[in-house]
Symmetry: D3
Subunit: 171 residues, 6 copies
């Protein structure tokens, strides 16, 4: 399996906020946005491994700028790191008010997917080779995020998380 | 504002997995489940504070057992801790195959909401008093989860997170 | 097949009224509510018989208090009586305005379902044993409702409906 | 307000059964059909009174022939009787398999609507003058159906329902 | 295969404009209307040939009178001409404001469908015999519209389009 | 109003074909695709003029390669020509099967939008300056397409359409 770059799995999704996507404040509901992000991220993971994928986990997401009814939602997703059978996808979201020519960062997130073979068992995925500085920085952070996921999922003890421990020991 | 208990914000939601909720494997898409969890959690937060709420953040979620087409989705949400103007909600999800009488844990998560006043500014929420052992354990863990959210959101330095540091320093 | 109680088929569903669920008055459309009630009732029937079910009939429903946009819809369903291959489900619906802490009865109804075997033929369902006073009263009324359904469906002559005739002959 | 005929409120609706409208048997869910019937009936009532309307009640519906995935749903609705501020609408539903050229009666029902003035209070509606034999027969049955609705809604005592009592007293 | 008339494939569809169907002006979005027109036209084509059909092309559509939120959409479709394996369907759309008793022409269009056999290959369809003056006029224009489709689809040279050339050569 | 380039209004939309988007063959319905194309094109037009827009017309579309259930739909839209108050948008659509790494052209189309001022009257839009060879070719063809729209909409006589007449007079 040949090495692939983040660019090769890059996906752009554009949606418009319709009435049924909003809460009583006329803002995009968080859950609707997570639904779109899941689809964008699944497509990026599918482009990387050329196999069916399933969502394995979603990292902490914080919603900063609400996106208003009638505004445009821009979602960009691309692979941030490939592990053996799983892939971490980095997603960035912007809102845009076309009339006022105002585009604003809404949030970003990491979703993890597993590739499946025809028997629905995990199968290997191609390695990822980051190219830009930004991609390399995000690639490097993936081990730390993965340890956090394992600890939060009860599959690793905090004291074994070398990458994370380093963070907390800074003086 | 009187103290409230988790029981007072307890919400039960039941959904059925329809074709459009599934991926090509016939399993419930992760994004659709996060959408339902967001609504259930927002209702629990709204019941606690009796005011409009917006999703502020979602903690790490891992999807363990996929829920199949035609199965039932059970979602339970109740307040796990109230802060000044924000509320952490604990959500548990089960799948159920009615024909085979098989009910299985799918996943659990913490969503955080902010209460808004009529000018859309954050407003105070009632304090929460946990009652059961389970509620107390989850209440106690909320400070640690909150520090993690602040660090992941870039609003706290890891070395200032006393609750979290304790975790990593165990020998 | 062992006897079951109404409690064993009890289902709670919670929905929020979104813009597309409302008519021009901003009230939940009757048809959307009947759609949700059908799903809740089908789940209760499925829990009782552990088999696929189909809607056979719906009794007279009257809509008293309209449920407003943004309000919460609470739907509770549980078995009211089991016949040979069919099940009557009792459904109660409340609306709730979380901000004003106001919960109001919206309506109630009886839906009837038939259990199907793998060849899509009706199959026997477990008997129902009501427990509470309320459940017993509703259980007892089921014969009368069933005669009414048979008359309205053209499958029984009014003069043969002993249960119903008693009602009209009171002096 | 001039008298109107049933023909003037006649509405035809045609839908196709898509995957998300079906249960696990691939048949149209009863709740989805009641949703479409509610919209068709509301349009017929709106055409009769030229004012906003709300669903007041739905009479007993029995589902006889299931409608299959991919089949066509034909819904016809027209006024069956006008009362002071309320209107009874008669709805007939057929399924059709275009490939096999097979059209079958699915069910029929009566929905009742109330006309509203700009303050959301009930307002008078035009009288209805049935024309065909079929319309006259259905018009005549409306009093009996109305007594039944009032009894089932707890607003009339069975012994006061002269129209219905006559039915049960036949020897 | 016996000859059929346009009347035999006549389909009437009625929809109501709900919030999610509208743009920020509260008008029905063009794309939603084209979606409904496609379904109505596919049903008319399916009625004519009694076989599965797929959309082959859509002719120029212009949207004249916008249809408002809460208004009724009336769509009528019937066959305008049958070719060997394809069918042209003529669609007319009206909006209606029930309260103001105002019905207005919205637009009209021609969609073309191909009939498929069980192997998904094009199969012959019955010939069409127009009856009314209007149907004959539309039938006659079909050749001109077809040449235009072929030219626009790059399958015919403008100079070979005899029917169209006649139009441009009028003095 | 400054001149703008096609690149400035370029929009990329990515969707996945879900069960409810498909016909009985498991292919994306034409009407659903036209709905997505309308949204993508409206966003491109809105980006160009920074004002609300409404769909004025859609040119002939032919559907060549059906897009399958589970495949990805790529839609690209950008301005092809600006007139006084209207804008023509060019849309290209591809399907992609991620597992088989197969991407195929599905169709292309031109949608025309009108920009509206706050009183819903047409308002001027910025001029468009094409940059690439492809953009220039498409820009040049816009006059011909516009004459065709005017003729098809009954607003121009064929004999006055100089651009189109030239096409048919080639020897």
């Amino acid at each position: 399996m040949g090495v692939k770059t983040p660019k090769e799995s890059h996906i752009v999704m554009t949606e418009i906020v319709l009435p049924n996507d909003t809460n009583v404040h006329g803002n995009l509901m968080g859950g609707r946005l997570m639904y779109w992000m899941d689809i964008a991220a699944a497509l990026a993971a599918g482009k990387h491994c050329n196999a069916p994928v399933v969502t394995a986990s979603v990292d902490n997401i914080s919603f900063e700028s609400p996106i208003k009814l009638g505004n445009v939602v821009h979602i960009e997703a691309k692979l941030s790191r490939a592990f053996n059978t799983s892939m971490e996808v980095h997603i960035r979201v912007w809102g845009e008010d076309l009339t006022h020519q105002y585009k604003y960062k809404s949030n970003e997130a990491y979703y993890t997917f597993v590739a499946l073979d025809p028997n629905r068992k995990p199968r290997p995925v191609p390695p990822l080779q980051p190219e830009t500085e930004d991609e390399k920085r995000i690639f490097d952070g993936a081990l730390r995020r993965r340890q956090l996921r394992l600890i939060l999922g009860g599959k690793m003890k905090p004291e074994d998380a070398e990458e994370l421990k380093a963070l907390f020991k800074k003086e």
